[in-house]
């Protein structure tokens, strides 16, 4: 068995042990998802690149603190989100939503299936949400984190997380209805 086929858990232990090649497999396996996630979160591919690079380097440094090697992906995604939200917070507020480079069309020469246009509609809708609302949605629906985890990451009480999530849902429902 080559490293490329090893499970996340084994790779995480190897990487914590100092094996850069094992870390490299984890990076290439999950990195693209992290970049896409951070791009959605920050609205900027450039910011996402920086956030993910910093997050991966931080992860490499702190791997021996990871208690459950099998959950290394979720653990790394938490670091990515933190770096991405830091970036969001430190950014000057965009005077105009148009300043965000959110991709409003999903790339690729795929045929126009219903699913494809749903993704485009959702993509555009997400772009109209306020930062913290969009972040909460992504962390919950794509990251799969609990209210408490999101609360910890975004630095607000769980009740606020709940409120933001409901707000995201309300907004997205209305927007998606409009575009249907």
């Amino acid at each position: 068995m080559t490293l490329a086929e090893a499970s996340d858990g084994i790779l995480a232990q190897r990487a914590a042990d100092g094996d850069a090649a094992a870390f490299g497999v984890l990076v290439r396996r999950h990195g693209p998802f992290f970049v896409a996630f951070a791009t959605r979160l920050t609205g900027s591919r450039a910011d996402a690149d920086d956030a993910v690079q910093e997050a991966l380097i931080t992860a490499w440094d702190k791997l021996d603190e990871l208690a459950d090697p099998d959950s290394v992906r979720a653990w790394m995604l938490r670091i990515v989100s933190r770096k991405a939200t830091d970036r969001l917070r430190s950014r000057r507020p965009a005077a105009d939503i148009e300043e965000l480079e959110l991709p409003t069309s999903v790339g690729g020469p795929e045929s126009q299936t219903i699913a494809h246009s749903q993704m485009e509609a959702l993509s555009a809708a997400l772009g109209t949400l306020p930062d913290e609302v969009r972040t909460t949605w992504l962390l919950r629906e794509v990251g799969g984190y609990s209210y408490d985890e999101i609360a910890e990451q975004t630095g607000v009480p769980a009740a606020t997380v709940r409120g933001r999530l409901a707000r995201a849902r309300r907004a997205l429902l209305e927007l998606m209805e409009e575009w249907r």
């Binding site: 850069a20 920086d50 690079q53 910093e54 380097i57």
Partner: protein, 111 residues
């Protein structure tokens, strides 16, 4: 210590020529990284400094697993001395990697 840079590069080259040395690495741990900073790919990897006693040299190498590390390290030390025209006041040869099947590109020559 920019005037010692050519010496350090001479040391790098000498190390690469040693039988059993399969990689030369950065001798000094790098300071806090700054992302997007263009690093100097031509900078010497070995470290050559100078104090009252003379030259202080530190090198980091990768060696083949085909020979005992101590033998390769000793050969490396001799090569460094020759490159500098005499044994330095202080020399540390650090084996940072042992590569199986020397010749395989396993060693990451970190610049």
């Amino acid at each position: 210590m920019s005037d010692l840079e050519p010496l350090a590069r001479r040391v790098d080259d000498a190390l690469r020529a040693v039988d059993g040395v399969v990689g030369v690495y950065s001798a000094r741990p790098l300071a806090a990284r700054v992302l997007h900073t263009a690093f100097d790919a031509d900078a010497a990897l070995s470290s050559v400094g100078e104090d009252a006693d003379g030259l202080t040299v530190e090198v980091s190498i990768g060696v083949t697993d085909a020979a005992p590390s101590v033998d390769t390290a000793r050969r490396a030390a001799i090569a460094v001395g020759e490159a500098l025209g005499g044994t330095p006041a202080s020399l540390t040869v650090r084996v940072s990697r042992v590569v199986r099947d020397a010749g395989a590109a396993g060693a990451v020559g970190v610049a």
